[in-house]
């Protein structure tokens, strides 16, 4: 492959007992690009995410993360929290998983845990209030403030995350993932439940993240307007296998994709076809 892939998934399979949720799937996500993973319900998209982010141990296959500095990390060898900590892969969840009883600001502070842990000298420097810790804490708050501003939630920084409207929670979860300063950001249906205006601002946010932070994005999305507008590359799955991939234009016109969506859900198929015209 000639393209510069930050993530290369090779022959990935995931079985749950008799169910083959992902079957010999290979694809790549290009560096500093937005790659969309689409497919009808139950295609296995979330399962792919769970394998990449270490929540599931894949039955077989490999996933390689190539960092900017040349480091290569085999994701299937790391488990849960190390994938975020060492491989710098951050994710959001299909059903939002914020810390509802903590404020928006606190949510973003928790995301900087590992950096702050180091700065607080594993708590000791922090406990005695060392100046170096104070500086680091202030920097962390500033970073959180920057992200709150970017997602338009600065005025709600001190409100409980669980009290925010649904769309704001979705954006906050993205900001929280970004506060871990990831190389690869995996978003599981970030536009689910958003109205048209919110979807548009989400697209803008993701494009800005790619442009300003240089973060590569892997995106699961059912909202075709978002997929068509922002993704550079689209991978289509059905029943655990890849049925098509290419540019949004290319995928949209692929009869196999249309058939998969028709088989699954007519409305979505129409959405796929209409979004191009």
């Amino acid at each position: 492959m000639s393209a510069d892939h930050i993530l290369s998934v090779d022959h990935l399979s995931m079985r749950f007992g008799g169910i083959v949720a992902v079957n010999d799937l290979s694809f790549g996500a290009e560096r500093r690009k937005i790659t969309a993973l689409i497919g009808p319900n139950g295609a296995g998209k979330t399962t792919v995410f769970n394998c990449i982010t270490g929540f599931y141990k894949p039955t077989s296959g490999s996933m390689r993360l190539a960092h900017d500095d040349g480091r290569n990390i085999q994701l299937e060898r790391l488990n849960d929290f190390r994938i975020s900590k060492q491989a710098k892969v951050a994710r959001t969840f299909q059903n939002i998983r914020l810390f509802p009883g903590m404020t928006a600001l606190e949510n973003l502070m928790v995301a900087q845990h590992n950096a702050l842990m180091r700065a607080s000298g594993l708590t000791l420097l922090g406990l005695i209030g060392a100046p170096s810790w104070r500086v680091a804490e202030k920097a962390a708050i500033d970073l959180a403030r920057t992200w709150l501003e970017r997602i338009g939630l600065l005025d709600r920084a001190d409100d409980a995350a669980g009290n925010l409207p649904y769309g704001d929670q979705r954006r906050l979860e993205i900001a929280r993932a970004m506060c871990t300063e990831p190389a690869l950001l995996c978003l599981d249906e970030p536009a689910a439940g958003l109205n048209a205006r919110e979807s548009a601002s989400l697209s803008e946010l993701l494009l800005a993240i790619r442009a300003n932070q240089g973060t590569s994005i892997l995106l699961i999305e059912h909202d075709m307007s978002v997929v068509m507008e922002i993704s550079d590359h689209v991978v289509v799955m059905d029943y655990g296998v890849k049925i098509a991939e290419g540019t949004p234009q290319h995928v949209r016109d692929d009869p196999k994709v249309i058939a998969a969506y028709l088989g699954a859900d007519e409305e979505e198929a129409i959405a796929v076809m209409e979004s191009g015209t």
Partner: protein, 433 residues
């Protein structure tokens, strides 16, 4: 206000009837028929239908009362309309409670200098405040249900008792050692246990508490078994004993010796230890480790996705809580001068847990108030003799109906940009493992 939505008389009646029926079925054999082995080994039995009828009637009446109270206070989760003036007055009052309570506590030995009973009670309450604050780290912040907290209390107490009686180490050297040893045991227990969640964790910690007690009971050669450890040295004021002798504090200050000096000293000692616990906890909450504890309580999966090592985070919570328990234990040993496994039964764990839950999980002030209410209240009802537990239990039930999330039902954020506003407990999770 609620009457329109409240279920009617028929509903209450039906509910009470069902409760009474269940009570009838349950109690008919337990109370209604009394069996005993007769003189020749044959079975004799007699009936006690009068007692049975009384119990069932009590359940029936109690059920109606509870239901009425529940309607009076509104169902759990309803937002009661409280006038804003009242709310603001309450919040002002709430803000004053902590400092007033603290100042009062400092003055207790001055005000009640001649009332030994009050001083002893104060020491007892403060011990439980400290234990509550310690367990609060584990249960309230990290959301890990620990039913064996007394084990660490015991480890601390025996650490001091054995180190002091066998090696003659002073209290001030043993105190940190007791804390470290308890924390060490916390980690040791934590390793295998913390991958368990919820009920499983609760059961294993419960068992751990019992195991420690049984070891203390049966390891005769070291712990003295059921006889316990006697002659534990009293604490010294940094080397100066509080005794009537020539080298005692009273002689040095050229004042008349009084046994109250030691009580007052113990009072301020436990107050200092409790305040240390409080200070450390408040500080830790604002550090990444403390935030990770609370995040863990809120959502463990999200924590892992953010690169937080949940195992070490849980272990640190466990160890921190255990350390405070150990410090309190060392204090307990030096105050009593005698300890035995009897002081470290499950009852203690349950009491401390009740204090944390009653206080409103995670709230420092709530835990202090709850300890005061539980220990002080328990003493208050002493005159009621055998009905003490009953009255006490009823008070607890009523309190839980009135305030299902504890006395202090909100969470203070650890950091804020503009407004330091409390978070309603409806949003705060209780943890699951």
């Amino acid at each position: 206000m609620q009457t329109s939505r409240a279920p009617g008389v028929a509903f209450i009646f039906k509910k009470a009837l069902i409760s009474a029926l269940v009570a009838l079925v349950l109690f008919s054999l337990m109370i209604g028929v009394r069996t005993e082995a007769g003189s020749d080994g044959q079975l004799t039995y007699w009936t006690r239908f009068g007692d049975l009828a009384m119990m069932v009637a009590t359940v029936f009446g109690g059920s109606i009362v509870v239901e009425l109270l529940r309607q009076w206070w509104g169902p759990v989760g309803t937002v009661r309309v409280v006038p804003p003036q009242v709310t603001s007055a309450l919040s002002l009052g709430a803000r004053l409670v902590a400092p007033v309570l603290l100042i009062f506590t400092f003055l207790v030995p001055v005000i009640f200098y001649n009332e030994r009973y009050i001083l002893d009670l104060g020491i007892l309450v403060l011990t439980y405040v400290m234990l509550g604050w310690g367990l609060n780290v584990v249960v309230g912040l990290a959301g890990l249900l620990d039913l064996g907290y007394v084990a660490f209390y015991a480890v601390g107490a025996y650490s001091y008792a054995l180190l002091a009686t066998n090696f003659g180490l002073s209290f001030w050297i043993c105190l940190p050692l007791a804390g470290i040893l308890a924390a060490f045991w916390g980690v040791l227990l934590g390793f295998p246990v913390l991958r368990l969640r919820g009920d499983y964790l609760a059961i294993v910690t419960l068992a751990f508490g019992e195991i420690i007690r049984l070891v203390l009971l049966n390891w005769q050669s070291v712990t003295g078994g059921p006889n316990g450890v006697t002659g534990i040295p009293r604490p010294t004021m940094f080397g100066i004993p509080l005794s009537p002798g020539d080298d005692g504090l009273a002689a040095m200050l050229r004042i008349e010796f009084s046994p109250t000096h030691r009580i007052v000293f113990l009072f301020y000692l436990i107050l200092a230890l409790a305040l240390l616990t409080n200070w450390v906890t408040i500080r830790l909450r604002r550090l990444p480790i403390g935030r990770a504890w609370e995040a863990l309580r809120e959502d463990e999966v999200a924590c892992r996705a953010l690169g937080i090592n949940t195992t070490t985070t849980k272990l640190t919570a466990f160890a921190t809580g255990a350390m405070f328990g150990g410090l309190a234990g060392a204090f307990f040993a030096t105050r009593q001068g005698f300890i035995s496994p009897e002081s470290f039964t499950f009852h203690e764990s349950a009491l401390v847990l009740a204090i944390v839950v009653l206080g409103g999980m995670g709230s420092q002030l709530g835990v202090a108030l709850a300890a005061l209410a539980m220990i002080g209240g328990f003493e208050l009802f002493r005159g009621l003799d055998q009905y003490r537990m009953l009255v006490f239990g009823m008070a607890m039930v009523l309190l839980m109906i009135w305030r299902p999330r504890g006395l202090i039902g909100h969470r203070a954020p650890t950091v804020f940009l503009e407004r330091n506003q409390a978070i309603s407990s409806d949003l705060v999770k209780e943890g699951h493992g």
